[in-house]
Amino acid sequence: MSKQIICKNATLGYENMTVAAGIDFSVGSGDYLCILGENGSGKSTLIKTILGLKPVDSGSIEWSDGLKPSEIGYLPQQTLVQRDFPASVYEIVLSGCLSKTGMRPFYSREQKELAKSNMERLGISELSKRCYRELSGGQQQRVLLARALCATTKLLLLDEPVTGLDPKAQTDLYEMIKTLNDSGITIIMVSHDVNAAVRYASHVLHMGHQKQLFFGSKEDYLVSKVGKSFIITENGDEGDTPEPEKKPKEKSDAPALLAAAVPVAAAAAASITISKLLKLKGRRS
């Protein structure tokens, strides 16, 4: 099987701050890789680096097998701008074909057909003229997925595609992604959902604090120490974090300070919300 993306000992980060280090994996054509990890472990950064939106700090991420940017589809996390963007579903899906237009200013007939067929594939044809901002979360994700499909023939990168969806919509979306994978498209998906990962993915990359905890096939992951502890904590006692990522290394002060600040801030926010709620209740009664 030919490799499409090879990542060797890559270090990722934002301006002087390392988010993840020692990332080592490869993705073959037709694979379904699920990237797991806690908030802040650099999952989204990794996706952006793979896409070339950010440079690699050290090490390398290579595209092989003649992969070109115009053959990649990307389902990003939703941005604030998009929530109230006045655009019809068809316009958004069609914009996925843009990289295929090259220097021509307008879309060709085939590209319009491609957009329509992808909308049919994801069951959103009847939404074609609807406004994006009026759709439900699940429908919006499907629109963005249809757009990503217009852009890709080989590789699809998904950044937490099920965030904010109800369980039914989540399952639908996962099944849809699985069907796409079965039709030969390589999938790289970032997720929090370890259960979905082990159910659908063929490979798992587990990222911990500033280092890689696991990369390998799903079967290996299920019997690995990391996999076991993570799946148990996910399904059972949530308070217990798995051993390998228990203590963040005190490499520099900034992350440690940040780590300390987060719970404090969270507690403060929680107490404010609670006090507000109490006030509200008081007013009502």
Partner: protein, 310 residues
């Protein structure tokens, strides 16, 4: 009613009124097209910032001949202005102000809309800084090197464009027509790309589209439009010309194309109504146009409430 039409048609025979109508409609069209993109990219205030830069540049252009003469007088011991300095100053004075304002505004636009990860966070502070700074420096220059006895009148007309649209020269009109055609062509040819970059910059970049290049293009076109619009509504009201039509259109229309077309129509109609109303009621042109835009905005708000309920 007939009286009003008579009055209008008699005014329309004057070339300066014809110029004002042509320039006004073109500027309204261009600014509304780009306004949609700017509002959606959360750059509503860029228009404001850049227009203040243009104000500063305009003041600089206005006082430059005076400054040159003063400096020349300072250098020569006798206090007399030498012939070369005088001819340079005259040359600058004859030069269309736009040739000085345009490059300065372009540079500011590129600096403010410069692509970069943190540009957005620094963005609003940078806009505020540049806009207030150039406003202050512009006003100071106008006071220190007065070109006429009526400084506050000059400042007022630069800020609110109260009379400048009625004092256009054929040269200004030609430049305006040329720039408008450039803006329209750019917009039509790059319509799909501008949409994609506005809706999702990261996706565009990831799939191999040069998003930074298109952002730069948007910055350049924004600067062009603002310099154009300075003539019509003055620097303070440019933001209104950019944001009101697009916000009105966004109330009612649901597709990007619909919003763009509607906002262009709103803007052109409001500009026409504003110009004619200002002639009839002898009100300042810029603020009359913007008042028409505000009125339309409220009408569209009501329409959107009604259609949502239905």
């Amino acid at each position: 009613m007939g009286e009003m039409i008579d009055k209008l048609s008699s005014y329309l025979e004057y070339p300066f009124v014809q110029y004002a109508v042509i320039v006004g409609l073109l500027i309204a069209l261009c600014s509304s097209l780009l306004g949609v993109t700017l509002v959606l990219k959360r750059f509503s205030f860029i228009g404001d910032g850049l227009s203040h830069v243009a104000f500063g540049a305009m003041s600089l252009a206005a006082v430059l001949p005076v400054i040159i003469k003063e400096i020349a007088a300072g250098i020569s011991a006798s206090g007399e202005v030498s012939g070369t300095a005088k001819s340079i100053a005259d040359f600058v004075a004859d030069l269309n102000n736009n040739y000085i304002v345009l490059p300065i505004t372009l540079i500011a636009a590129i600096l403010l809309l410069r692509p970069g990860k943190n540009a957005k966070i620094k963005g609003d502070a940078a806009v505020a800084m540049i806009s207030v700074g150039s406003l202050a420096v512009g006003y100071m220059l106008m006071n220190r090197f007065p070109t006429s006895s009526n400084i506050s009148g000059d400042v007022c007309s630069t800020l609110f464009g109260s009379t400048s649209i009625l004092t256009l020269k054929p040269d200004d009109v030609n430049l305006c027509i040329l720039l408008s055609i450039v803006v329209l062509l750019i917009f039509i040819l790059f319509y799909n790309k501008i949409f994609a970059v506005t809706f999702d910059e990261n996706f565009s970049k990831a799939t191999g589209i040069k998003a930074d290049g298109y952002n730069l293009l948007i910055a350049v076109v924004t600067a062009l439009i603002i310099v154009l619009a300075m003539n019509l509504v003055g620097s303070l009201l440019i933001s209104a010309l950019i944001i009101f039509p697009s916000l009105s259109a966004m109330r009612v229309f649901k597709s990007f194309r619909g919003v763009i077309i509607c906002s262009a129509i709103i803007s052109v109609i409001c500009a026409a109504v504003g110009i004619f109303a200002s002639i009839l009621m002898s009100t300042p042109v810029g603020s009359t146009i913007v008042s028409a835009d505000i009125l339309v905005f409220f009408v569209f708000c009501i329409i959107s409430k009604i259609t949502k309920r239905a």
